[in-house]
């Protein structure tokens, strides 16, 4: 898990304005079994999805500690996208259901802190759903682009 902490550090890459368009910082936490495979499939079938996402592969969405999501936002992420197996498909039996519960609670918390709920998304994307992966990521990034930068990083100044 310490490893993952380091990985989320990637997010603090400073925002650049190489383009007029807003390029959000987006962390994608995907499970090794289904969503990563779907992302892989999207890749090999040359489905284009936004380059803004920084994908972190985890063994299971059930291992996502909500703390890492909070930390991502504090350190400047504009959105966190989580992709896991469909209910019942989880390699680890029910890790995805655990994730759903935890993220449900976390969403309420983040909302209370002024983070729009759309900035944190959990989707079930099966291994063969490359197009679904593309669609969800696209929609998510579009949504974040519309919302604009998160500004939550200010909270980190104490």
């Amino acid at each position: 898990m310490e490893q993952t902490t380091q990985q989320t550090d990637l997010v603090k890459t400073e925002q650049t304005d190489f383009d007029k368009e807003f390029h959000p910082n987006i962390v994608a936490l995907v499970c090794n079994w289904c969503t990563y495979t779907a992302a892989d499939l999207a890749g090999v079938t040359r489905l284009k999805y936004p380059a803004e996402i920084r994908m972190i592969r985890l063994m299971c969405t059930g291992m996502i500690d909500p703390r890492f999501i909070v930390e991502s936002f504090l350190r400047g992420a504009d959105g966190v996208f989580i992709g896991g197996c469909h209910p019942g498909d989880c390699h680890y039996i029910n890790g995805n259901l655990k994730a759903r519960l935890r993220i449900g609670g976390l969403k309420a918390l983040l909302q209370g802190m002024g983070i729009e709920p759309q900035r944190l998304a959990l989707h079930w994307i099966g291994a063969s759903e490359g197009t679904e992966f593309q669609k969800q990521v696209k929609d998510f990034v579009e949504g974040i682009r519309e919302l604009g930068p998160s500004g939550f990083g200010v909270y980190d100044s104490i």
Partner: protein, 822 residues
């Protein structure tokens, strides 16, 4: 101890993969080959499978010593250190004898170097050859150079040697120089092969050959396999259900069952065994996408574990089921099809459907050379009989175990590992609870590999309750198993005993076994196999009558001279008697075959008697279908009934009357029966008790629940505890024996090596930080946690799969995932 064996497994479908992994996990070397360019077989095309609409194929990956295999989605391929996969390969010749076979393999040249190909697809655009795509069952076209699976790893393309015209255009555009159109094939000789396992699978009926239901003429008539691809988001329609004729959304969809199976005209006197469930699944998934499905069926064969419940779920969510074989199909102007069918005599209905799916039957389909008669060549059940996923896996494990037995005793720990991993001592002893067919076959299999076994049996005899009700032939087979077990020195038998206390961790369990005087040993064992069996359901007291009995009793009683000589004018069988309904909602599998077998017996002594069957669905999957055909030939009359109007039994002193409704005659019928056989089913034995003791799950009906109904059929949720036979689900004798062996195989992989290797990535507890709050205990899906004696939780290292659920729930990070040697 001996050296590892070397095995060739032909066919990299699910059976072949299972058999290979089984052998690989117990230290053997395997060459796995397939005529296709990728592994996976038919399952590459099926995104989700019944009876739960989930995938989870990855769950069949090794759970112990996981670092030997690559750990990701099995659709990408299968990798294990001990398995060499040879694509585009078939067996040419087999020589020599068991233990020392010489196998000549012939491989087509891949023509595309997987190391160089990056899957860019430039070649796809220039290839001039177009042909129907097998994977999509002709729903779409592909080129002669093509992607062999939706996502395979490495993501290489392949050239189909049959359709390639060697024009060389692909070679010109390939930027990595991966394409060589060189020699056609090469041969390899595998020597000193211990055994060959044929897992060559089945073939699907081609309705075009028999020009059935306008297949091939009407674009909107497709096979169930094509529909499967239509459901898949990686398929030709990206998961939308469309009419192939005009691309309009398909709303009304009909499934026609038994196309190419259960068809005497086509000489197909067999049931394909899985199409009913396949269609139910497809119909269910199509409903999620807004379609209105109708299934036209003959018998809804929901004979497997939880299948009946699956059917109930589908029908309660709006699926329409029509029992009839549609008469004909016509294309309609403006798209779609007109289906004519006659659900009851005299009534003809024309109905419009957008799409008609033919549930094509399967048949054993290996067209290559047949080596099955050769010594040392074993054939998996999946290629002989028509099985669903879980039975295929059970059969594959069973066969792989038999193959391993050829090599003799098991393989010991090899030295000099590349991976530095810790080892856990395990006890090379297995406790088997239950001395019925499943338990006995498991015990004999393990003992044959030199593992000592303790059988705990509650009765004062071996053979199980079911041996009491089986027919003479089955009883003889069970007696043989009993004799073998009693002779075997590695098997200790404790009669009139039961396990009382159970503790320990995977590989190091302790079970206190007590006899009737409440005395007995504490057995230390590495694994436990629960095969506590079951028995036939007892009839309610209100039905006690000399002329009424279960079909099993009736079948046995037919051998009695007293019955043989008696006048039997009329025998009535009532199938699914108080089963497949609310209280006992499962099919017992054995009642139908047993009752049908009785018909032949009755005919031999009473050629003139009337034999009436009241039935809901005759469950004769696979070759058992001929029993049904035979019974009809012998003049048995079959009357279907609905659960809301079951036939009535009226018991009088001297006689029994059965009243029911015959939908074909459209009227009430009444029979004075001389004997009534009730298909009242089988039930589990002491499942609840055992489940509680061993901490595993049990279903409403008392059957033990497996870790995964498809991929881990004989594993309980807890590593080291395995389940098989009637304690798990109703099975035939053959199946019980297979399940026993499969369970033995699963136990074997745990105990064959007294120094089991931990996986590199497992959870660990930092005891100083642990508050013993038990959150990790609750979230652990593998029962790999227990409160330790030192005031901190502890991890069962062999059971832990490294999922990290405990890490995420522990607020304190007292639970961490650790990667050793990294």
């Amino acid at each position: 101890m001996s050296k590892p064996g070397r095995f060739v497994v032909a066919g990299a479908g699910i059976s072949g993969v299972r058999a290979s992994l089984d052998l690989a996990e117990t230290g053997h070397e395997v060459v796995l080959l397939d005529t296709a360019p990728v592994s996976g077989g038919i399952l590459l095309a099926l995104d989700r499978q019944f009876p739960n609409d989930h995938c989870g194929m990855c769950r069949m990956l090794p759970m112990l010593d996981r670092d030997q295999s690559k750990y990701f989605c099995m659709r990408l391929g299968m990798f294990h250190k001990n398995v060499t996969f040879m694509p585009n390969t078939e067996i040419k010749e087999i020589g020599g004898g068991p233990g020392d076979l010489k196998v000549l393999l012939q491989s087509w040249s891949a023509k595309v170097d997987p190391d160089l190909c990056n899957g860019c697809g430039d070649c796809l655009e220039v290839c001039p050859v177009s042909l129907p795509d097998d994977l999509a069952d002709s729903l779409s076209l592909r080129k002669a150079i093509f992607k062999p699976g939706p996502n395979t790893s490495p993501s290489t393309l392949a050239i189909d040697p049959d359709s390639c015209i060697l024009c060389g255009k692909c070679k010109e555009v390939c930027q990595t120089g991966a394409i060589t159109l060189g020699p056609d094939y090469e041969q390899t000789l595998e020597e000193k092969v211990t055994a060959v396992i044929m897992a060559t699978g089945v073939e699907y009926f081609d309705p075009g050959d028999a020009s059935m239901y306008g297949y091939g003429k009407y674009a909107d008539v497709i096979t169930s396999l094509a529909f499967e691809r239509m459901l898949s988001s990686s398929g030709p329609t990206q998961g939308r259900i469309l009419r192939p004729s005009d691309g309009a959304p398909a709303e009304n969809i009909a499934w026609i069952q038994c196309v190419g199976s259960r068809n005497l005209r086509l000489g197909a006197d067999h049931c394909s065994g899985a199409c009913c469930m396949f269609a139910l699944k497809q119909a269910g998934l199509s409903m999620e996408k807004g379609s209105r499905p109708t299934i036209f069926y003959m018998d809804m064969r929901t004979f497997g574990r939880d299948w009946q419940k699956y059917l109930d779920r589908a029908s309660s969510s709006g699926l329409r089921l029509v029992r009839c074989r549609p008469h004909s199909l016509e294309a309609r102007n403006g798209g779609g099809l007109m289906l004519s069918y006659s659900p009851v005599p005299g009534e003809l209905i024309d109905e419009h459907f957008d799409l008609v799916v033919l549930s094509v039957g399967r048949a054993p389909g290996w067209k290559g050379p047949d080596f099955s008669d050769q010594d040392g060549v074993l054939v998996t059940g999946g290629s002989k009989r028509l099985l669903d996923i879980s039975r295929s896996l059970v059969s594959a494990s069973s066969v792989s175990f038999r193959a391993a037995m050829i090599s003799g005793s098991p393989v010991q720990a090899e030295q000099g590992d590349s991976i530095t991993s810790q080892r856990v001592k395990v006890k090379s002893k297995v406790l088997v609870v239950g001395g019925g067919p499943a338990g006995l076959s498991a015990s004999l299999a393990l003992a044959g590999q030199g593992i000592s076994v303790v059988i705990v049996e509650k009765n004062d005899f071996l053979g199980g309750n079911v041996s009491q009700i089986s027919d003479a032939e089955a009883r003889e087979r069970i007696r043989e198993l009993v004799r073998d077990a009693e002779k075997n020195q590695d098997i200790e038998i404790l009669l009139k005993s039961r396990p009382m206390e159970f503790s320990g961790t995977t590989g190091n369990f302790q079970t206190h076994v007590l006899d009737q005087q409440n005395k007995g040993p504490i057995i230390e064992h590495g694994a436990v196999i629960l095969a506590s069996g079951g028995s036939q359901s007892t009839l309610p007291a209100s039905l006690v009558h000399p002329k009424v009995m279960t079909v099993f009793d009736l079948h046995r009683r037919l051998d009695d001279p007293e019955i043989k000589e008696k006048d039997l004018n009329c025998l009535v069988f009532i199938q699914c008697f108080e089963t497949r309904t609310k209280e006992k909602n499962y099919c017992s599998r054995l009642c139908c075959p047993t009752a049908l077998r009785s018909v032949e017996k009755i005919r031999s002594t009473h050629p003139e008697s009337r034999i009436i069957f009241f039935y809901r669905d005759i469950m004769t999957p696979g070759d058992l279908e001929h029993l049904y055909t035979r019974a009809r030939e012998l003049g048995a009359i079959f009357i279907p009934y609905q659960t809301d109007i079951p036939p009535k039994l009226i018991l009088e002193k001297e006689q029994v009357v059965v009243e029911g409704f015959d939908p074909y005659l459209g009227e009430e019928v009444k029979f004075k029966a001389d004997l009534v056989g009730l298909g009242s089913g089988l039930g589990p034995g002491s499942g609840h008790e055992l489940a509680e003791l061993f901490g595993i799950r049990v279903d409403r009906e008392g059957f033990l629940i497996e870790a995964d109904p498809k991929w881990r059929p004989v594993d309980s949720g807890r590593e080291g505890i395995f389940i098989c036979g009637l304690a798990r689900n109703p099975v035939s004798l053959d199946e019980a024996v297979d399940e026993g062996r499969a369970a033995a195989q699963r136990a074997m992989r745990l105990v064959y090596n007294p120094q089991a290797r931990m996986s590199v990535s497992t959870a660990r507890i930092r005891p100083a930080l642990c508050s013993m709050c038990g959150l990790c205990w609750t979230v652990c899906p593998y029962f790999a946690r227990y409160p330790g004696s030192k005031g901190a939780m502890e991890v069962d290292p062999l059971a832990c799969q490294g999922c990290g659920a405990c890490v995420a729930i522990c607020p304190n990070h007292a639970s961490v995932l650790e990667v050793q040697g990294d």
